[in-house]
């Protein structure tokens, strides 16, 4: 199978060079042909996108943009549409994830970008979304307008399929010109989405582009980064540090790097009836995208004192992971990942000699591992790919001491607890650096308008322009109708 990836404005002239990225899964192969622009073409592209963002995209009202995105999402949610079918067919081959994981993941993710969710998204950040269209009166006096920049450059990672459209949609809502660089790991979805947007609203054809270059290609990279108003980067902390060093000081850089997320299970979630459901939800958070998301759990802190002990809970989880393996098998691992998994497992097994309460569940033939531990334990980042620790605790508050050293890396906590425990521990978690607290089983599905790493999706991309009271009052004096 062959597929043209990326998206370029039709008015970009000159002959294009294409690079082919080949993906294989089982017997299926797909070749994604993606344009590789020259430095001159990249320059021309940024000019086109900037110009069209200024004159065309900014002439749309925010409601019109919401409606266009809503139409595109409806098509992607319709399993009989050619776009959806293409995504369902090709993404498993490209990413290696099971077809069912992709199908369910796409629906659950794309639902966040329907019209009502986008409206919530806008209100969450701006209060009054009309700020994006016109100067609006402010409670403090005066008027303000939210101005999107001319060019947002997105540098995406390939860990979770379709994830790029989050920042792309944010960029569109604030009427910025957008150029996104897809990763070699998942170069398909952003381009598909852009192609569909243009089909729905051809006037936007020159307002965005989806490109690719090989990581570390400084010539192409610097050309784009130098012209951006804002750069949004996703990836490992090393790649973000390298990206950051190439961005001019005056350009706003929004890096989204590696994060650590985990679960907390109170004894309230471990009675005879609910313990299974709790383990089921926890395992679901582990298997979705094989823990590759920043919101995926590395470990679960489980409180003693319930009908089911933390040790038993680890066994419940092991069984759930085995069941999920049959239903949604883990993707094939690279040699590097396999080695990391084996090394992690070896280390844990060796530790049993010095820590007899420890237990390593699952054998090397299993596509998952659960390690049970007791005693005070700092979070030990997992090697991922369905490898998780269950750590016994006496009090939920103990967790705060364990996560202290990782403050800057903390993100999501999935919780199973009573409402009182939820609010008590949430305050402490927030103080410790956690930015998202969610129900167990929902860790990998952030709700519409969430604050990614505690930040604002849209506010961070805009500048507010204020007309102060004094300007308004001063102008009154010069009105032609002044008495």
């Amino acid at each position: 199978m062959k597929e043209v990836g990326g998206y370029l404005p039709p008015c970009l002239e000159g002959e294009l060079e294409y690079k082919t990225l080949t993906f294989q899964r089982n017997q299926d192969t797909v070749e994604i042909q993606i344009p590789l622009l020259t430095r001159e073409q990249m320059d021309a592209l940024t000019d086109i996108v900037k110009r069209n963002s200024r004159f065309i995209l900014k002439s749309f009202t925010v409601n019109e943009i919401v409606s266009i995105i809503d139409k595109a999402i409806a098509i992607f949610l319709d399993r009989s549409s050619k776009y959806r079918q293409k995504a369902e067919k090709l993404l498993p081959i490209i990413t290696g994830y099971d077809e069912e994981i992709i199908r369910l993941g796409l629906t659950s993710y794309l639902k966040s970008f329907r019209k009502p969710q986008l409206q919530r998204f806008l209100v969450e950040d701006l209060g009054n979304p009309l700020l994006l269209d016109d100067f609006q009166p402010r409670p403090k006096g005066g008027f303000s307008k939210a101005m999107g920049p001319e060019l947002v450059v997105h540098v995406w990672a390939g860990n979770v399929p379709a994830l790029p459209i989050w920042s792309l949609i944010s960029g569109l809502l604030i009427k910025a010109g957008n150029i996104g660089k897809v990763s070699s790991g998942e170069p398909l979805f952003a381009g598909l989405f852009a192609q569909l947007l243009m089909e729905i609203e051809p006037k936007l054809a020159d307002c965005l582009a989806i490109v690719w270059w090989k990581g570390g290609d400084e010539e192409r990279e610097s050309c784009l980064l130098n012209k951006a108003d804002i750069v949004v980067g996703y990836g490992s902390n090393t790649s973000l540090a390298s990206l950051g060093s190439k961005i001019p000081l005056t350009t706003r850089f929004l890096p989204f790097g590696h994060k650590i997320s985990f679960g907390i299970i109170s004894k309230a979630g471990l009675d005879s009836r609910k313990a299974w459901q709790t383990a089921h939800s926890a395992a679901l958070d582990v298997i979705r995208y094989d823990q590759q998301g920043c919101y995926s759990p590395h470990c679960f802190y489980v409180q003693r004192g319930g009908s089911v002990s933390p040790r038993e809970f680890a066994r419940y989880m092991a069984h759930e992971l085995e069941c999920f393996e049959k239903r949604y098998p883990r993707r094939g691992l690279s040699l590097e990942e396999k080695t990391a998994n084996a090394a992690w497992r070896n280390k844990e097994e060796l530790n049993i000699f010095s820590n007899s309460s420890k237990e390593v569940l699952g054998t090397t033939s299993n596509n998952w591992t659960v390690v049970y531990e007791e005693g005070s334990q700092e979070i030990n980042p997992s090697c991922l790919n369905r490898v998780v620790k269950v750590i016994a605790i006496d009090q939920l508050e103990q967790v705060i001491d364990f996560i202290g050293p990782y403050r800057s890396l903390l993100q999501t906590v999935g919780i199973a607890s009573t409402p009182k425990e939820l609010f008590d521990i949430s305050d402490l978690l927030g103080k410790a650096g956690v930015t998202r607290i969610t129900g167990l089983g929902s860790m990998t599905s952030p709700e519409a308008g969430w604050h990614h790493d505690g930040r604002f999706n849209l506010l961070d991309l805009i500048n507010m322009v204020d007309i102060e009271c004094s300007a308004e009052e001063y102008a009154e004096r010069f009105a032609p109708y002044v008495d």
Partner: protein, 255 residues
């Protein structure tokens, strides 16, 4: 289990559970006849998979609803392989298990029931009749009829489908009683919801979650899960079992 030199007929085995059963027999060295109705390509794929997994196989296109076609198929097997040791009646009338769009009982006509009784019971009857004579001659044989755990617990009332499958259980017990004296065993395998198959693809996640939350082994069946008990009933390991229904549903039904 060793099925070397055994000849196994699996009806409706170009896809889903049937294809898995065919390949599982082949893995144990059997000569498998892949019966199918529609897709030559799908049947050929199963044949290749069977050959690659250590057994032998060939496909025969035949509508099991037609007595003549079934007779022709059995004659072909006899002339090619000389015998039939095991029959797995797996073919049934295509049915989409969609809990949201299934017909309610007051929407059903007798024709709906009749179509499934023909598709399941009559086709099973056609195949059994066609192989009886030769199994009796050899004084041995194992017939396995595929039903569903819905016969014991219609967790979702797919009326016409379940009624026809229930009829097969009764049919099989009567056959077992009559044929025991000829060394022919007749048993049923009753899977729970098997996912994914073409028939169950429309089943929503919510329904799957509802079923597995009530299933002791905490998951729904895959085609591979069903093959094991079928092979067991085909083998000498189950030589003193006949007229039984084995539920393969993770413990949802306990009988």
């Amino acid at each position: 289990m060793d099925f070397k030199d055994k000849v196994i007929l699996v009806t409706g085995s170009s896809r889903g559970i049937g294809a898995e059963i065919a390949q599982s027999f082949a893995k144990e060295g059997a000569l498998v006849v892949v019966n199918y109705l529609q897709s030559d390509e799908a049947a050929e794929k199963v044949v290749i998979a069977c050959k690659n997994s250590g057994g032998d196989a060939w496909s025969i296109k035949a509508d099991v609803m037609s007595e003549g076609a079934v007779r022709g198929m059995v004659e072909e097997i006899l002339s090619e392989a000389g015998k039939i040791d095991v029959v797995v009646n797996n073919a049934f009338k295509p049915y989409i298990f969609d809990p949201d769009k299934r017909k309610l009982v007051w929407e059903l006509t007798w024709e709906d029931y009749q179509a499934h009784i023909d598709g399941s019971l009559r086709s099973t009857h056609n195949v059994c009749q066609a192989v009886l004579q030769l199994m009796r001659k050899r004084n041995q044989g194992s017939i396995i009829n595929m039903v569903s755990n819905l016969v014991a617990r219609p967790i979702i009332p797919y009326h016409e489908y379940s009624t026809a499958k229930t009829a097969i259980v009764g049919y099989s017990r009567n056959l077992a009683t009559e044929l025991g004296q000829f060394g022919i065993r007749v048993n049923c395998v009753a899977p729970g919801l098997v996912y994914p198959t073409d028939a169950s693809r429309q089943t929503k996640e919510e329904v799957k979650e509802m079923i597995l939350s009530q299933t002791p082994l905490r998951r729904i069946a895959s085609p591979e899960d069903v093959a094991g008990p079928v092979l067991f009933l085909a083998s000498d390991w189950s030589r003193f079992m006949t007229g039984q229904t084995i539920y393969v549903d993770g413990g949802l039904v306990m009988k």
